[in-house]
């Protein structure tokens, strides 16, 4: 791809970007949120047509007006968003748009067979080709996405943040898969915010910033810090704000809390501390957050100040939740920054704070209250979500994957904000699948396993210690 440029509604998203990927090479693309990685890939996949620039595959000029064209040219992509139909079976999803035919009719047997083969190739036996996707867990669905891409047996495979929803053991599976593709002489484009993965897998890495190409380097020749510097344009290092010096009174406490997905949950959150929640995918972390927040309430156990039966009760009691999935659960995307920031205040009829102050507090830049949030980058969107909860002046604020898919720059800002809030006396609970972050931020780490508390670790424990608790006897 050379000289690629693209703008949406006059907003320039990509300009003059070149990307060259060789067969049998894993090529990483990194950059902050909104740098244009996904857009670049969607152009390669024929979702968007570039305003400028050309694409060549095996030296042949190609131009895609529809994803189908790209597929035919041998480009397969695992999108950042889910691209599955919950109502349809796994096989139907995998072969959507390319259903195998026999005498002009769809050949179900062939479809299921091929899907089953690919699944077993991935060592995935927890579900079959005929299972409806709606009954799969997030991780299982991600596997389907991967199978979907593989079934194309393309010559170029793009993976846009494939591990965002995967737990570590599943990431391992993916690693092996990528290497196998590599051996088969397939070119792999790998996008991730987790630099470790970049260095584990990629031979070369292209850095984007604000829709422009910063540089393309061999991973062997750079350090993670170099990359970060390239991405952010300044040095950040991996410093986390200092831990709490002292903790205040108990803001929230549960004893013997349980529901369909959780059992025997007992924990305390104190003013001024950040409590980390660790666990494998599906271990119940989000369920815990949603239970404390009244969205999927505890059915048993006691909880102070209240055991919320609804979100409103929790909010009224000063509990807030920064949800796992910003777009689906956090923001009204077509509403302005202002309307989103004031949503909570309005919902509970609090006099709305001054939006300007709010945006300053969360360091939203540029602070344009009238802008629709869907045009903000991931990081800025997350800041708006934070602003929303600031209006509540919450006693307890729960964060579920607060920095997932958020770039290093915004990440640091969010970390600082969390610590500030804690110092102002808010009790904070943080869920994160990124252990370094979790350990770096938390004053304590509670580890979940199968919906139970497997144990609590002090600040500064090692990743190994956490993993041991999280995964013990559940041999991933």
């Amino acid at each position: 791809m050379t000289g690629i440029g693209k703008s949406f509604l006059g907003v320039r998203v990509l300009s003059e970007v070149d990307l060259a990927v060789e067969a049998g090479q894993v090529h990483a693309v990194v950059g902050e949120n909104g740098a244009g990685k996904s857009t670049l890939m969607k152009i390669l996949a024929g979702v968007h047509t570039p305003d400028t620039g050309t694409i060549a595959i095996d030296g042949r000029q190609v131009s895609f007006s529809h994803p189908l064209d790209a597929q035919r040219a041998g480009v397969a992509i695992i999108y950042q968003e889910f691209t599955l139909l919950p109502e349809r079976s796994v096989a139907e999803n995998v072969f959507l748009g390319r259903e195998p035919l026999r005498r002009g009719l769809v050949d179900r047997a062939a479809m299921d067979g091929a899907t089953a083969a690919l699944l077993s190739e991935l060592g995935e036996d927890s579900f079959g080709p005929r299972d409806p996707v709606k009954r799969l867990s997030v991780a299982q669905q991600q596997v389907v996405e991967i199978v979907k891409a593989l079934s194309l047996d393309a010559r170029i495979v793009v993976m846009d943040e494939p591990t965002a929803a995967l737990a570590d053991h599943e990431v391992e599976l993916l690693y092996r898969l990528v290497r196998r593709l590599q051996e088969r002489g397939i070119a792999v484009v790998y996008i991730s915010h987790r630099l470790r993965e970049v260095f584990d897998l990629a031979g070369r890495v292209t850095v984007l910033k604000d829709g422009r190409l910063v540089s393309t380097v061999a991973t062997a020749e750079v350090t993670p810090d170099d990359l970060v510097r390239l991405m952010v344009g300044r040095d950040l290092g991996t410093y986390f704000p200092p831990l709490a010096t002292s903790t205040g009174e108990v803001r929230l406490s549960v004893t013997g809390g349980g529901n369909a997905r959780l059992s025997d949950i007992s924990l305390e959150l104190r003013a001024g501390e950040i409590v980390g929640i660790a666990g494998l995918q599906g271990s119940g972390r989000s369920s815990l957050a949603k239970a404390l927040f009244g969205a999927a309430p505890f059915t048993t156990g006691t909880m102070t100040p209240v055991r919320p039966r609804s979100v409103r009760e929790a909010v009224a009691a000063g509990i807030g939740l920064v949800t796992e999935d910003r777009k689906a659960e956090g923001l009204a995307l077509r509403q302005s920054v202002r309307d989103n920031a004031l949503l909570v205040a309005r919902a509970i009829g609090r006099p709305g704070a001054s939006v300007r102050d709010l945006l300053d507090r969360v360091r939203l830049s540029p602070p344009r209250p009238s802008q629709e949030v869907r045009y903000l980058s991931g990081g800025n969107q997350q800041k708006v979500v934070l602003a929303k909860w600031m209006t509540l002046a919450p006693d307890v604020l729960l964060f579920d994957e607060p920095t997932r898919g958020v770039d290093v720059g915004a990440k640091a800002a969010i970390h600082d904000l969390m610590r500030e809030l804690a110092e102002d006396g808010t009790a904070i609970m943080m869920i994160s699948s990124e252990l370094p972050e979790l350990i770096g931020m938390s004053d304590r780490v509670i580890v979940l396993r199968d919906g139970r508390i497997a144990g609590t670790l002090p600040a500064g424990s090692s990743e190994e210690a956490v993993m041991l608790l999280a995964a013990s006897e559940e041999a991933a």
Binding site: Q80, F82, K327, I348
Partner: protein, 314 residues
């Protein structure tokens, strides 16, 4: 508001065209007569807007208008003293029907298209079951003055307009739009999405009641007074640039849409495209107007459910 601007332009052009063909239109009396005529549809559109912006439909307003008029006529039966109690009842019925629509849609999770379609059948059936097939009784003068007297109609229209705007500026309005945009996010921010939606339906029902009072007042009892109004109202709202599916559009634009539709009818009559091809022209214009508004939008439809994080991807 950006999306709303085109409709005002269109409206201005239409009004100008009418004035050209019919100078009487420029006199206060002439213009007010037009406003008075438009009032019921504008009010219905305002009500329909609240439902549409929350992501729903209300197909029952047409038959609700009929019900209100027929019920009022039978209960008042020409007796002046009955006017005020019946007016109150009419309003209550409107609210009640709206509440039922809202409750069935939200609590029983029936798509509002179906809920209100069913309500449409039930209402039109029930009312004539009650009156034995044809309207009975008569409306009192006190009742009819609201729709017959130009000043009253204009006054009512104005106050409804103001009320609608204020409502949309208030917390209710903002949370309503947010609900229409992303129900889940609203709920997880503490918005009582169910209640907000039910209220929206109640407002639509109330609007239908007021429209019924005006229409009944304007022309008296008739079995078909409300016929087809639901489609006119929805069309008007959409003309105003309000997007079916919720979360976008302003109530002022919706009301402007209604005025535009009304002006369109007037104009088509003025230029003698009456009867026959009038509808053809209407259909083409409606499609064209909505298309003009639609293609300006980015392709993105629904907030995408995403794993990890995703940007406003198409």
């Amino acid at each position: 508001m950006k999306r709303a601007l085109p409709i005002f332009a269109v409206l201005a052009v239409l009004l100008a065209a009418i004035a050209l063909a019919n100078p009487f239109f420029l006199e206060p009396a002439g213009f007010l007569a037009f406003v008075k005529r438009a009032a019921p549809l504008v009010i219905l559109a305002a009500g329909q807007y609240f439902v549409i912006v929350s992501g729903e439909f209300d197909l029952s307003v047409g038959s609700l208008v009929t019900v209100e008029v027929v019920v009022a006529a039978r209960l008042i039966d020409g007796n002046e003293d009955a006017t005020w109690p019946v007016l109150a009842l009419v309003v209550v019925i409107g609210l009640l029907v709206g509440l039922v629509n809202g409750a069935v849609t939200t609590l029983l999770r029936v798509p509002s298209f179906i809920t209100t379609l069913g309500m449409m059948l039930v209402l039109s059936g029930a009312v004539f079951l009650w009156t034995g097939g044809a309207p009975r009784g008569a409306l009192s003068h006190a009742f009819r003055v609201f729709g017959r007297d130009t000043l009253w109609s204009v006054l009512i229209l104005a106050s409804v307009g103001v009320a609608a705007v204020l409502l949309m500026r208030a917390d209710f309005g903002r949370t309503l739009i947010a609900t229409g945009d992303n129900e889940r996010a609203a709920a997880l921010s503490g918005v009582r999405v169910t209640r907000v939606r039910i209220v929206a339906f109640a407002i639509s029902g109330l609007a239908a009641a007021v429209a019924g009072i005006l229409l009944g007042g304007f022309a008296g009892v008739s079995a078909q007074v409300g016929q087809g109004l639901e489609f006119s109202a929805i069309t008007a709202v959409v003309l105003g640039g309000v997007v079916l599916g919720g979360g976008r559009g302003s109530v002022v634009a919706a009301m402007a849409g209604a005025l535009t539709l009304e002006a369109l009818f007037t104009l088509l009559n003025l230029y003698g495209i009456s009867g026959a091809l009038e509808f053809t022209v209407q259909g083409v214009i409606i499609i064209a107007a909505v298309a003009a508004g639609a293609v300006r939008l980015p392709f993105s439809l629904t907030p995408r459910k995403s794993k990890g994080d995703a940007h406003a991807a198409s």
